[in-house]
């Protein structure tokens, strides 16, 4: 390091010094080609076991009906919807990182975008499962789609659940496309580096004949930018629409205009928490500290802090509006959340989503992988609790006291939830094993300029 450098405030690097195009390609590509490590088998086996649990829970569900869950009369939605919103929230970080940060020219996104996008896809896959299975007759769930049929029936377009179908499916397809388009140059790299015929074939097919010509790059850049433009509004829209599921309803605790922005912020909050939860251990395992640097962790922590504050604002506004509206049902709803039978959930939510996040004001915490990881774990739990509080505490005591009830998840509720985490992890393990988890070609572009000259 030169003297000059020392004089300037140290800007944390987004890639460690000493890397060349070759080392980047080697290091990241190598992960895919080297012998499958033992821990991978172990982790994958555990994940698969959880997938089996999910399959068992789903079979039981299809055979017996939603009655195997803890749902009841006032509380018609439970774990399934909580988990749906939780997963879809987690699925926000990927597209946000890829699309919005790309458009904002935040170069640091490069080392984490591929991974975040993959995580998004898997989270959306988990999320998409729930609306499908939570209905009473899942085999008829396709009636929510507008398709020509002999019944002469269309979906009922005033229902937010129909909007959900469009929002989530659009988001899922654009995310998939975005991720896949982004992968193409790297798939070509893998094709070129593969030694076995089979791998060459598979990667070759997936690379769609990428040769890295100028025309290819030109088309690629255009397509990627367009997709980014397309994905950007989706980041906002999908969770806005999800929030409509509640906001359009008239149950106190659901019927609030704050919901769209507060849900979007919550989703980004949750998404970054999950990215951190996964990158921090992976970075250590794959020794990727050179590529995912402290600066990345810090930046993500800052996003989390900012969105966390928006979420906290949402909570405060809910309480304020309950008072300001002069509406007794609203007041009762808030009082019931804070002091009612689910008060521990609410207080735990405040601890996780508001108090714990304040630690991120301190650079020490942001810069420490362990500190960031702990806060992220708090947020993961907190965001699940937030959805629990919104869904359950609003429903369990609404307008008529005679119909009040209590809700708690059953074994099958938990099995489905944990099973979906297993599905997420299993997909993640496959991704880690077979695809480059950091965009190789994009990493090359952010190598220090001197390197190129040299």
């Amino acid at each position: 390091m030169s003297v000059d450098d020392r004089a300037l405030p140290v800007k944390p690097q987004i890639i460690a010094p000493g890397h060349t195009s070759a080392t980047v390609s080697d290091h990241i590509g190598e992960i895919v080609f080297r012998k499958t490590p033992r821990w991978w088998y172990f982790g994958f086996a555990v994940s698969l076991a959880l997938v089996m649990l999910l399959l068992m829970a789903l079979t039981k569900l299809i055979v017996n009906g939603t009655g195997i869950w803890g749902l009841n009369n006032p509380v018609g939605w439970g774990f399934a919807i909580i988990n749906f919103v939780w997963w879809i929230g987690i699925g926000h970080a990927g597209t946000l990182i890829s699309a919005i940060l790309l458009l904002l020219r935040q170069e640091w996104r490069t080392s984490i975008n591929r991974f975040a996008e993959a995580m998004t896809l898997f989270a959306v896959a988990c999320a998409g499962l729930y609306p499908l299975i939570h209905v009473g007759r899942p085999w008829l769930a396709y009636w929510l789609l507008p398709y020509p049929n002999t019944m002469g029936m269309w979906p009922q377009f005033r229902s937010p659940l129909v909007w959900d179908v469009f929002a989530v499916s659009t988001y899922a397809s654009v995310s998939l496309l975005f991720w896949y388009v982004g992968l193409i140059p790297d798939l070509a790299t893998l094709r070129d580096r593969s030694r076995s015929m089979l791998k060459q074939k598979i990667y070759g097919i997936l690379a769609m004949g990428w040769r890295g010509s100028a025309a290819h790059w030109h088309n690629y850049e255009t397509a990627y930018l367009l997709l980014a433009g397309l994905a950007t509004p989706l980041v906002i829209s999908v969770h806005t629409v999800v929030s409509f599921d509640f906001a359009v309803g008239q149950i106190p605790g659901w019927h609030a205009t704050i919901f769209p922005p507060y849900f979007v912020a919550g989703a980004i909050f949750a998404g970054f928490a999950m990215v951190l939860t996964l990158t921090i251990p992976l970075r250590a395992i794959f020794k990727l500290q050179d590529f995912i640097t402290t600066r990345h962790i810090e930046n993500m922590c800052k996003v989390m802090l900012a969105t966390g504050l928006i979420v906290a604002y949402g909570y405060l506004i809910e309480i304020f509006m309950a008072w300001y509206s002069g509406h007794w049902y609203e007041k009762f709803m808030i009082l019931n959340r804070i002091t009612g039978p689910y008060k521990y959930h609410w207080w735990a939510l405040i601890l996780c989503n508001i108090l714990a996040v304040q630690a991120l004001w301190f650079r020490k915490v942001r810069a420490s992988a362990i500190g960031a990881f702990i806060v992220a774990m708090f947020v993961n739990v907190g965001m699940w609790l937030e959805r629990f509080v919104i869904v359950v505490t609003s429903l369990h005591r609404d307008f008529l006291p005679s119909s009040w009830g209590m809700y708690s998840g059953t074994f099958w509720d938990w099995a489905t939830f944990i099973g979906s985490i297993g599905l997420f992890l299993a997909l993640l393990f496959l991704f880690l094993r077979f695809l480059p988890m950091i965009s190789i070609f994009e990493m090359r572009t952010i190598l220090p300029k001197t390197e190129e000259k040299g």
Binding site: G67, N73, M153, Q156, Q250, W328, P401, S402
Partner: protein
């Protein structure tokens, strides 16, 4: 043949059980059951006992030998069922369609439902020969057009697959002919000694035909005796009348001009043979409608909260032991001869009684004092004296000879029977109905005594506890399968005619008894017809008979009134008996509000019907007051041990607001040991503590909390009674006021809430042209009796879900009765609010359904399209009234063939994963619409009656076209008492409520005035922002 009860030989009993279980199954199900059986632990145990020598040497796992044993036993088991009579299921097409039978058009037949001996006149609806629904027979002199929940649930009782289906001797299947032959042979053998020492045990009998038949049997067997025992019978009413008048007298109340009613431990609105008439007349005087501005006033003294008490303007909770003293003090205040020496009933009560007495005095001849069915004989005697002193007899109170064939002291009767049996003086015991092994007073030792009887024969609907101890069990015909007759409370003979051939080959008591006569067994039709031909003469009999059957009753058969006067010494005697009692803990027994004395325990509708006050389902519990609970540190659902007279019962506790302190209420009828799949494992057997000396009230009881808890399934949250009440009040769900407040500020109801104006919407209003259906409920006259709940269940094929599902909050009732306690928990005001679908004009459920499975009709109905429903449950979440019900699991029974016959063919049977809710009985609307169109006319007001409306004893529900300003529902809705719940949400509910008015005595300081209290203050602050 052995005389040992089958219960003593454990091994065979098991096999018998197995066989019985197999008997219930059919075809494919049977084999599936065998497979299941062969693998079950019980089966292994059975084999173990069947082959005891080999059993010990069985190694672990399955070897060849065990395999062969299992296979052999399976085959033997297969053979067990081979001798079962398979039901003949004939498909009979109509070659010539019977006249007047139009497929899809139900036919109604007049018949009678018999409960505790008394008839309730009904019309049974028959679809293609299958009875599917029961309605009241308004044309009957004692009928009101309404029915109670028991009558409504009798349809399920008819089709109950657990009913006994075969004649059995020691568990083996026999034929009726075999039974008749054997019995006649036995009787002849015993007859050589001058008549068999035969004993007949029945419940209360009012049936002239059955009475005549019993008398004929008694004539032919001089040494025979007839005993009657009804566990929840009118023992004290009988004794009280006997004491007061020196003879058995049936007392009937006509409340249509009773301006002051005093109830002494009386639930006259929902209990007792004439309660439907009382409820109707009482409610009519209570309604402020069409310019009428006066109401009756009800004072209620009660030892356990009753539904009548919830409507009382002044309620005085006293302990059971004090009721008689209160009655005596009231009599003394009213100057009843012989009551002068009555002691004062304790602090605070004197003033209450002064007010009531003054009111009674000023309304002499226009008042009624009613003693409860289960109040002590002294209370009955005193009531008779008070009514006489007030000149009420002849205007509101009527005495007539007892409607029973032979009124006897039934407790003495069963005691005598038990003594005789113990002494070995009985050769043959014929138990017709009842269930004495289960419900006889526990101190008698009935069961052991019965085992002394050589030949025990039992006729009943179920193979129950008593059948277990009888050699012969005979299946009884359900009343809907029977020919017969019975008297209503006013004495009118009501006909019973079958709607269907006995499903399980049952016969009636009369038919069985006819086999003991020389004439031999005769069909019921002949017996009833012959009886009436003999008693009414041959001339024109056929025509008369047809008219009786058509009308459902024998005209002019009610006996003339009995001119009776109260014996003054009886009053003095009753006053002397009426001590205030000690302070020790007392235990009050009452028949259960839904399963009664246990006879309806296997009726799922009744089991799942929430008990009116506790909202418990599937169980009874020891009801204790909040104060007692606090003192003993007992919480809801905690296990407790009750000790009375050295006998103990382990039960669960439930805190019941409004119970007097130091008083426990325990309902009878639960804890059935052998009753059927539905009844098994429900509740606690109160009969274990009930003695012949203290059938309704035991004193000196001990209550000890135990470790652990027992889950009780309540449909309304129990941990938050106070919060619920407070919130309901704040939300103005049940709006109440006093008559005076109403007269002063008739608009007070509207001021309690906030009704958005019709322009507070972004959308143009929808014009309802033609019909616009609406419904109004009068909260002032709803007694919370649950008849509507069961009527709706029967009409709309609503499934039961079981205790576990109720505990999870998944009951399916389309109409529920919300119960709110307000003010103090020790003496609360109780409000009932029937809640069905509101059919909101701006229904929150409709906008959120993604597949348009719930849509609005142009007549304002919120229709549910089951076939289209995918089950997102969004509609239920968004329904502010929470009236939607979801089939979380497959609740409806699609398998049991006999239950398919029960269902209303006009209503879809919903499957799993589908939402459902009240439809305003759309099938009835459409039925009437078709009729009106055929006749090219408008639907007339009152032509469509929803199931809940039709059954309501107090006429508290009105349905009709709100577009027609002249319709009754429009006139109700035009009243200033009319309001909608949660109207501020702008849902525009089509179901509205009429506020509950009470009429407290302005002279009373406190006395439980149900003022609407903070209504005026709250107005404004609770408006929607």
């Amino acid at each position: 043949m052995t005389d040992q009860p089958s219960g003593t030989d454990a091994g065979r009993l098991e096999l018998d059980d197995l066989r019985r279980k197999l008997d219930r199954e059919r075809g494919q199900e049977l084999w599936r059951s065998l497979d299941e059986l062969a693998g079950s632990a019980e089966f292994e145990e059975l084999i173990h006992r069947e082959f005891p020598r080999e059993a010990a040497s069985w190694p672990e796992g399955v070897d060849r030998r065990r395999f062969l044993q299992l296979a052999g036993a399976s085959m033997a088991l297969g053979g067990l069922t081979a001798c079962t009579k398979q039901p003949l299921e004939k498909i009979v097409p109509y070659v010539d369609q019977p006249e007047n039978l139009i497929p899809g058009q139900p036919v109604h037949f007049a018949t009678s439902f018999v409960h505790g001996g008394y008839a309730l006149p009904i019309l049974a609806e028959s679809h293609m020969g299958r009875p599917t629904k029961v309605e009241g027979n308004a044309e009957h002199p004692a009928g009101t057009g309404a029915t109670d929940l028991f009558a409504q649930a009798s349809i399920l009782g008819l089709y109950d697959p657990d009913r006994s289906q075969v004649v059995r001797e020691l568990g083996r299947i026999r034929t009726w002919e075999g039974f008749f032959a054997q019995t006649q042979k036995a009787i002849r053998a015993l007859g050589s000694l001058g008549g068999a020492r035969l004993r007949i045990l029945t419940g209360t009998v009012t049936s002239p035909t059955l009475g005549a038949m019993i008398r004929r049997v008694l004539e032919q067997h001089p040494r025979a005796r007839w005993h009657q025992y009804e566990a929840a019978g009118r023992h004290t009413a009988r004794a009280g009348a006997q004491a007061a008048f020196g003879q058995a007298v049936e007392t009937r109340y006509d409340l249509s001009n009773a301006e002051i009613v005093v109830a002494l431990d009386a639930d006259f609105l929902t209990d007792g043979p004439g309660h439907l008439t009382c409820a109707r007349d009482f409610a009519r005087l209570r309604r402020i409608r069409d310019g009428k501005r006066s109401m009756n006033r009800l004072y209620s003294v009660e030892s356990t909260p009753t539904l009548t008490g919830t409507l009382a303007d002044h309620r005085l909770p006293v302990r059971g032991v004090e009721v008689a003293a209160v009655a005596a003090a009231l009599a003394s205040r009213l100057g009843v001869a012989g009551a002068g020496g009555a002691a004062e009933p304790g602090e605070g009560r004197g003033a209450w009684l002064d007010v009531a007495a003054a009111d009674l005095r000023s309304h002499a001849g226009r008042s009624a004092v009613i003693a409860g069915e289960h109040a002590s004989a002294e209370v009955h005697t005193l009531c008779h004296a008070i009514n006489e002193a007030l000149n009420n007899v002849g205007s509101t109170v009527f005495h007539a000879p007892s409607v029973e064939v032979e009124p006897v002291d039934q407790l003495a009767s069963i005691t005598e029977l038990t003594e005789d049996m113990k002494a070995g003086e009985v050769d043959l015991l014929l138990i017709l109905g009842g269930n004495p092994v289960f419900d006889a007073p526990t101190d008698l030792g009935f069961t052991e005594a019965m085992l002394n009887v050589g030949r025990r024969i039992r006729l009943s609907l179920y193979e129950d506890e008593t059948s277990e101890y009888c050699q012969w069990h005979l299946p009884e015909a359900h009343f809907l399968e029977s020919w017969g007759d019975a008297r209503t409370h006013d004495g009118t003979v009501s006909m019973i005619q079958p709607l269907i051939e006995p499903l399980y080959g049952g016969r009636t008591a009369t038919e069985v008894l006819s086999s003991l006569t020389e004439a031999g067994p005769m069909p019921g039709y002949e017996l009833v017809r012959d009886h009436w031909r003999n008693s009414s003469g041959d001339g024109g009999f056929d025509k008369r008979w047809r008219r009786w059957l058509h009308d459902g009753f024998v005209e002019g058969s009610a006996p003339a009134g009995a001119p009776v006067t109260v014996v003054p010494e009886a009053v003095a005697g009753a006053v002397a008996e009426a001590s205030a009692g000690g302070p020790e803990l007392e235990l009050i027994f009452r028949p259960d509000p839904t399963v009664w004395d246990g006879r309806y325990a296997n009726n799922g509708w009744l089991q799942e019907c929430p008990k009116p006050l506790t909202k418990l389902t599937w169980d009874n519990a020891a009801l204790i007051s909040p104060a007692l609970a606090a003192r003993l540190g007992i919480t809801n659902e905690q296990r407790v041990e009750l000790t009375s007279d050295g006998r103990t019962l382990e039960t669960a506790a439930w805190i019941q607001p409004g119970l007097p302190d130091n008083s426990i209420t325990l309902h009878l009828g639960y804890g059935r040991r052998r009753a059927g799949k539905v009844a098994e494992g429900t509740g606690f057997d109160a009969y274990a503590l009930r003695t012949s000396q203290a059938p309704w009230l035991a004193t000196g009881v001990a209550l000890a909390p135990l470790e652990g808890s027992y889950q009780l399934a309540s449909t309304q949250l129990h941990s938050n009674i106070e919060l619920e009440g407070r919130e309901a009040e704040k939300r103005h769900l049940v709006r109440t006021g006093t008559l005076d407040e109403y007269l002063e500020h008739p608009e007070f109801v509207a001021h309690m809430g906030h009704k958005p104006t019709s322009d507070q919407t972004l959308y143009p209003p929808f014009e309802y042209e033609g019909y616009a259906w609406g419904l109004a409920v009068d909260l002032g006259s709803c007694t919370g009796c649950n008849a509507c709940v069961i009527a709706c269940q029967s009409e709309n094929n609503i499934p039961i879900v079981g205790k576990d599902q109720v505990a999870r909050g998944r009951e399916m009732h389309w109409i529920r009765i919300d119960r709110y306690y307000q003010n103090s928990v020790d003496d609360p005001e109780v409000h009932h609010q029937p809640v069905m679908c509101m059919h909101c004009e701006q229904a929150p459920c409709e906008v959120v359904c993604p597949v348009a499975a719930t849509v609005h009709s142009d007549e304002g109905l919120n229709d549910m399209v089951y076939n289209r429903c995918v089950g997102t449950r969004y509609c239920a979440n968004n329904c502010p009234y929470k009236v939607r019900r979801f089939n979380f699991l497959l609740y409806n029974d699609f398998e049991t063939p006999v239950l398919k016959m029960m269902r209303n063919p006009d209503v879809s049977v919903r499957s799993r994963g589908v939402m459902e809710k009240c439809s305003y009985c759309v099938q009835r609307i459409n039925h009437v619409r078709i009729e009106s169109r055929k006749e090219r006319r408008q639907i007339r007001d009152g032509e469509i009656r929803t199931a809940c409306q039709q059954v309501c004893p107090t006429e508290a529900i009105v349905f009709g076209d709100v577009n027609d300003p002249e319709s009754e529902v429009s006139r109700w809705k035009a009243e200033q008492l009319n309001y909608g719940i949660l109207e501020e949400l702008n849902t525009k509910p089509r179901t509205t409520y009429l506020a509950k008015l009470t009429n407290p005595n302005p002279g009373a300081d406190r006395a439980g005035s149900k003022a609407h209290g903070d209504g005026g203050d709250d107005h404004g602050s609770d408006h929607v922002g």
